[in-house]
């Protein structure tokens, strides 16, 4: 595996120490790291599953509006930040691999280094009352 950019290496270090569920995706949309707090939401553990390629993410999760109406993929903050390279936030219902639906507020931000180099995104998931 090639070395990750320094910005992502340091971000993983920070994420691993935080109690806030966090995902890190590279610029291609591969899920390269999720911290221990995010494992409950995803329904998998990083030490077991490791990184997940973008093509393998399809169908892993379902996301709807809070009232259950379908949500266009491009409106999911993670996808918005990846495709448009801008921060995005939304409250959604999210079904993890364990099949449990949870109401979460998702904030995703692009990770951009000096010179505008896009490295990927960081997303936080905050569980709320549904």
């Amino acid at each position: 595996m090639p070395q990750q950019p320094l910005e992502m290496i340091l971000l993983r270090q920070l994420s691993s120490y935080l109690a806030i569920p966090m995902w890190m995706m590279d610029e291609m949309g591969n899920l390269i790291y999720y911290n221990e707090s995010a494992e409950g939401l995803l329904g998998i553990e990083f030490d077991d599953a490791g990184p997940i390629r973008t093509e393998d993410l399809v169908g892993k999760w379902q996301v709807t509006e809070l009232d259950g109406t379908p949500l266009a993929e491009v409106d999911f903050p993670v996808v918005t930040a990846l495709s448009k390279h801008r921060p995005a936030h939304r409250a959604v219902r999210f079904q993890g691999i364990d099949g449990v639906w949870r109401a979460v507020e998702v904030t995703a931000i692009p990770i951009e280094g000096q010179g505008g180099k896009f490295h990927g995104i960081l997303a936080t998931f905050w569980e709320v009352e549904s």
Binding site: M1, P2, Q3, Q4, P5, L6, E7, I9, L10, R12, Q13, S16, G113, Q114, G115, G116, K117
Partner: protein, 271 residues
């Protein structure tokens, strides 16, 4: 090696052999091109020996004082007959020239950058560039503030220079995961690795996040990247010759088959 001390110049009887001058390495390409790595206090003496020179390339890893403090005392910088190309880390906020001007301007120094006769500044982003047939790879490494490491390749040989580096910070499962270790791509399978060697393991425990390596981390990193030879560099200003001799005996015992070269002024390494 022209200056191998870290943090601050540390002359004195107890540091005479490992040297008191801060980071400067003189590199000569196969074609004889002079490339200088960092402008610590070690660059001053090098400048006095540069008669007949028409071109110098100076690669600056970062703008901490121990890496630029010798710059205004580098004689070719003031010689209109010598073109000096200065390469250093880019910033989205200010150009390299603007940031260096904070030091090269009154009241810190009487001469301004704009008064230098023949200097060209290059804001370096991570990536590759070429200096007269020498391929240079620059990448950010783990150290406070934007800090570059450099890999110089020519005729299939590689020299990597990372004078300030804390590879264990942020690294998952260090030193076993190349993917998550700062500096790996710069250093992979290099023939010579010049690397931060600042702290004992006890000192490091008190200085995590300061941007430097412990001796154990230094060896772990050098083994991970598969370096051919390791040159110790950026010695702590409080470490005497006697302490560093002892450190190098320990490094040699632990180094398996990798050659350890003590970084001292005057040391010459053929890559």
């Amino acid at each position: 090696m022209r200056g191998t001390r870290g943090s601050i110049a540390s002359p004195g009887a107890e540091t005479a052999r490992y040297g008191g001058d801060t980071s400067t390495v003189e590199v000569r390409s196969a074609a004889g091109r002079l490339i200088i790595l960092d402008a610590g206090s070690g660059i001053r003496a090098l400048g006095t020996e540069a008669d007949g020179l028409s071109q110098v390339d100076l690669l600056i890893t970062h703008l901490h004082m121990d890496h630029i403090q010798g710059l205004p005392f580098f004689a070719p910088l003031h010689d209109p007959e010598v073109r000096v190309d200065v390469w250093g880390p880019m910033s989205d906020q200010q150009t390299l020239q603007e940031r260096l001007n904070r030091y090269l301007s009154p009241p810190l120094f009487p001469v301004r950058v704009r008064d230098l006769p023949n200097v060209v500044f290059h804001d370096v982003a991570p990536g590759e560039f070429d200096i007269d047939g020498v391929k240079v790879l620059a990448d950010l490494v783990s150290h406070p503030g934007a800090t570059l490491g450099f890999r110089l390749e020519e005729e299939g040989r590689a020299l990597t220079y990372i004078p300030d580096h804390e590879p264990a910070l942020g690294a998952h499962d260090f030193p076993h995961s190349a993917e998550w270790t700062s500096g790996y791509e710069l250093s992979r399978d290099c023939d010579v690795l010049i690397h931060d060697s600042q702290y004992t393991d006890d000192e490091y425990r008190e200085r995590v996040g300061w941007g430097h390596s412990s001796y154990t981390h230094l060896l772990g990193f050098a083994h991970l990247v598969g370096a051919g030879r390791l040159v110790t560099f950026h010695h702590d200003p409080a470490h005497t010759d006697e302490m560093l001799d002892e450190t190098h005996r320990w490094l040699e015992e632990q180094s398996r088959d990798m050659e350890i070269i003590p970084g001292m002024p005057g040391t010459t390494v053929v890559v």
